[in-house]
Symmetry: D2
Subunit: 418 residues, 4 copies
């Protein structure tokens, strides 16, 4: 399904740099300057801001430190495009990123060129420290590639006028699928996380450590739209006894009655996708649900969500392949019957019942990058496996994504355990 790509390592050089940076720009092909200004909520950022912020990352953490004689494109950008690094300094308030009409898109593109030229120069003669930090920068950029599509989807949904597909590949035919089954997995001590210095991982995935697991069962496939419709038909959104207390408060206050982006059209459900508005496919994984909804569904089904450790135990034995950003669908598809486990990687991020907390022996990155993950280790739940808008190079069994349990705008779904 996905093209063969070179495996990522922990060090990035000129070719890696060029490939990732070009992919970012290629995602924006269908958007106008005005589209790239949109900010629909504080958690989501304008595309233009993503383009600039990822560039700022290289300028700030590499060029300003290691490129002797480097000339800053604009000192003001350090304020405008810092995201959340207190150690770097003050910055545009997060909810006001949509007010940056200036600099213009063309200036931001010139900024990208300016930094790319310098980075290519720097990388031609890079030591491992530079190659390592560049690798961090590219993984950071891949995260923002995903956010570009995720955030823009949310923004365009607020004003569906003139909205059409922005995906690059149409959806494949969806053959009939076998129903999901539950696979028994033996417990014992599992090795979780990564300490592999050759291949890239974030500090929050480290160190590799042992976790004791009970025997458990886990579903062969993510929960499908068809199953979700049964939950809805059975009053799942109306029964408080299925919900966590905080979840029920959100459900009532925000009038949840279906996943985000779903709209009832007379007798059937449609959903807004990056392929345009389409009819909900009962075989495809359900997507754009909060942790609270995933948890309520699991309780309704008499199951539970897996822990991130159970998930990783299973995923570590599976190949990192699936419906990723490079496929160009930018929407989850029904999958196929080839392997025991379906869609462990790609399609939808899978909520786990694990809080995003430090692993035993966790050490934050040094310097400003200490703020990259560590300071978010509270109130967020771990998601695993990547989605249809995740770059494949970013994915690995140990990758930990995290969001607040009420958030729905990510490409998030679930897989049952229990």
């Amino acid at each position: 399904m996905q093209k063969s790509v070179p495996q990522p390592t922990g060090y990035a050089f000129v070719d890696d740099y060029r490939r990732v940076r070009e992919l970012t720009l290629s995602l924006t092909a269908g958007f106008s300057e005005e589209d790239m200004m949109l900010q629909s909520m504080p958690e989501a950022s304008p595309v233009k801001w993503h383009l600039a912020h990822t560039t700022w990352f290289f300028e700030n953490f590499l060029l300003q430190r290691f490129f002797t004689g480097y000339r800053c494109f604009s000192t003001a950008y350090n304020y405008l495009f810092n995201s959340y690094y207190d150690a770097v300094g003050k910055r545009t308030p997060r909810h006001q990123r949509g007010l940056l009409s200036r600099p213009s898109l063309s200036e931001v593109l010139a900024y990208r060129d300016h930094v790319d030229n310098a980075m290519v120069h720097l990388l031609e003669d890079a030591d491992t420290r530079i190659a390592r930090l560049t690798c961090v920068g590219l993984h950071h950029e891949m995260q923002h590639q995903e956010l570009i599509l995720t955030d823009l989807k949310h923004a365009l949904f607020q004003n569906p006028y003139a909205f059409t597909s922005i995906a690059t590949t149409s959806l494949p035919p969806q053959p009939p699928l076998k129903p999901a089954t539950f696979i028994e997995v033996a417990g014992g001590i599992a090795r979780i996380g990564s300490s592999d210095k050759e291949n890239f991982s974030y500090d929050c995935e480290q160190p590799s450590h042992r976790v004791l697991l009970n025997d458990f069962a886990i579903a062969s496939a993510p929960v499908s739209n068809g199953e979700w419709l049964q939950f809805m038909d059975d009053g799942g959104y109306q029964k408080s006894e299925l919900w966590l207390s905080d979840g029920w408060s959100h459900c009532v206050a925000e009038h949840w009655s279906a996943p985000l982006y779903w709209q009832k059209q007379e007798d059937h459900w449609q959903q807004m996708t990056l392929q345009g508005f389409i009819t909900v496919d009962p075989q495809a994984p359900v997507c754009h649900i909060s942790f609270y909804e995933a948890d309520a569904f699991a309780r309704w089904a008499g199951r539970r969500l897996p822990t991130e450790f159970e998930w990783e135990r299973v995923a570590a034995a599976e190949p990192v392949a699936g419906n990723f950003l490079e496929n160009g669908h930018w929407h989850p598809v029904a999958g196929h019957n080839k392997r025991t486990f379906r869609q462990i990687y790609g399609d939808v991020w899978e909520w786990t019942n694990s809080s995003f907390l430090p692993y035993p022996g966790f050490k934050a990155e040094q310097g400003a990058l200490a703020e990259y993950n560590g300071k978010f280790m509270m109130n967020q739940m771990v998601l695993r496996g990547g989605s249809c808008v995740t770059p494949v190079h970013q994915m690995r069994a140990s990758y930990r994504n995290f969001f607040y349990p009420h958030q729905r705008w990510q490409f998030s779904g679930l897989r049952l355990a229990g």
Copy 2:
């Protein structure tokens, strides 16, 4: 100071239509598509939205009703660009006008062309009903000309990066001025408002009626920045006894300590203007203050604000001339010493101590235009006289502007009475 212009009447034809519509576009010469997307708060709208909404007004209230065979540019625009007319139907939520990346600016400009062509055609053979409604539409458009500059100033202030003058004329030299004095005016019965059908006025200015006034004194000039600095130096923003109770709550909660757009630079005050950042001119009228601040200043000065009737009594005898939008300064200037009363018209809107309430015998316009003014007759205070961003054609002695007492982003100042 201002160019000679034909006096407005209550009926508008092709030449009037063209002149007003072209003026609107000319204001946007210095702005990018991205600038024209900005919405900095719910009360302020993007320039692109203003361009489209004023066009929608003609399409909805004229072309769709009187132009047989008129083809709507886009039916969706009726939703997108309706402002607050419940009788017309649902609409974009006010605080989401900044999320309209689509239609693009070029589509909105095409919309303007489409409607302009049809309007010109319609006006070639217009009866008085059409000429009257067109006149309403042009006065409506003039209000939005003012808002384009007012709202964009607020938006650019949120991100002063790359901000430079957008005015078309630089500020004139400011000669020394005589201090303001208080002019005694004899009381008696004054005629207030307008019933003149030949010249345009809004329903809220009607009917003309008699009001009994006591003798009063009113200042020959608006309060200046120099006088405002004395108020500040004397602790005006710290003394609760000078303030209305609701005003003091705002002052404390929003940390008011100077007019909006003022910034302390070491030992002097600067202000952001549409001329760029400039040093505060002590002779120029103070601008961008709320009613609450104006009222507190008056109490500090041992005076009071005039009623809108006192103001109109004086203004009716003065020529409608001054520093208006057409002058291109887009900032209040110091004025000159030629007449008894200085800057009654233009420069800054003057807060009065009158609530925006119906005149005796008030009848709202018929149909959807009933919503134009009448439904806002609560919680708002009247301002009079126009400002440096008001089109001169819009102004007359009976014109009633109105805003909430805490609002500061209008070009609002004050003149003392008492």
Copy 3:
């Protein structure tokens, strides 16, 4: 209907003082210490706080200034029971008055005794300045007598458990009434307000001044519950075109569909009253409506609200008599047919379409009492005539009450004009 009482004057002595202070306590006969703790919203205060605050008024403005050697009951009370006098000093935050379990009710009653003993002593030999300020204090206390009943009604409504009548007199039989008619009143110059130093009036009623009125018509009776039910049946709460813009926002956000305290019981409407829960009497005046509802009703009826000047013009010729607090019903009654105008005074406060603004030549009281009325002259609408919980001594043609246009917990109704 009401007992004969001595007419109030501008100076109060021992007998006046005793009568008013005793009436206050008599109102609390049916309440427990726990009832007197209740604060249901920031605008409403606990009964215990009212008992203490009115006492603080005498201690602070009279005893501490004019009683040589006076010993303060407790210096802490100056903080605890100041309402809103910035000039006097800091105070308990308004929304936390319900957290004053200490001092206990019995301590507050001892405080009242302590202050009463001193006041009686002071008044035995009072000069006119003291007699004048005492008169202010007693009028202040009468306002709080009304608030004791008004606020407690709101608090008990939040927890109707064990709620029964707390009125001292049951409702009288309601004879059939003639329908209201519209009475034509000739315009001309009316004298409004009060400059009479012999009889008490607040600063906001002063000075007496002339106002020019057009001819107008005004209803012979307040709007009844029966008329209000017609408005409701006709969709009055669902039609945005009847409402002011700000009013419609409140109506939607707060789900207004009937007056406050009304509850649908299968096929009829009940209302909570200080007489207990009773069936809505179609002949009695509608009560507990906001200005916004009154205004929407008037528009629905093709009428308008009177100005406060029109109201005073009519009321000045009527006797101050009606269903007041002393009657003990504490609920509006249907009235009788004896005079042309029905229920001008008593039963329900009547919303006018006048903002609470200063009269020409208004001068606030000197000293801390300057804050009594003047600082509230913004965003509030004037009500006239008193209600069934207003002490009759407090009422006069020139009395101006004022509340925000969205507030409903007062005994507020309306009379049509137009």
Copy 4:
């Protein structure tokens, strides 16, 4: 230090019932009816409500189900005093518990008598199901004993007028203490939680299961006020780099600069305690801090918080003894040097870095009691060990308390690990 008490079991009979119920009432000896009305925030409840709610628990879950012919004291109480059991029905909104002036305190006490009489009767002939549920009810009541003191402390802090000690025993002398040291603990597989049916535990402590721990070090004592003062002096509340992102937002928004209840008095710190206002004792454990503060302190100290598993590993070997509610101090004391670990139990709840999540194999209680713990397993952090207001019978090594990470009004402190 604490009196010898019979060890708790999983089944409660008449003597247990009487002892616990009487202890509850004894706590309220010093409070007036008015004190017992206070609700200072939605999370805290009035004492009267606690007295009634704990009684409702027995009436609803025992008497109504197992006592044939039981006569309900008042059916309305089922609405008034249900806390959060959706399965039981609607209830008083949580933030309005302070508005229940009715029923009066004396009625609530009569309710307690009524239920106690019936419970004693029921327990005389109780089967194990009843004895088990009664045990749940008594443990529930013990939790509310703690909350009575915790919530009232918060309420009285809002109005410190007339506040004096309400503790029953004065603070003991505080001898010099050895500084805390770090104790090395060997890792390995630890048994966590409880499956012991003979001794009481909540569903959330079950089932007992194995957890793999690394070697770790843990402090011999909780962090003291003296250490906290060093953190404050070193700018701990001003350095964003020490804080979790969500924690820093709270710190800034709520102006945290010291633990709750601390007040600077010129050159030293005082704190409000249930012993009255006292000078902060540098040897006593710091108390009334949020998780966010605990976490920031640990980072500042170059340490971390223990997980709940590490804590339980250590605590399981220690006797359940310490400064508990029965001691009557109701404030943490400095402890003593007798054992290796100081104050593992009692004095202050210790924040752990574990989220309150289900144990492997967790099964919620059946029926309405399913809502007791399970639905709160999100966004909350685990605290361990009990405090100076926890009844000693309630405590055990496996007990999991949980609060939101920003909450400070509990008697919460910390012990370092790492």
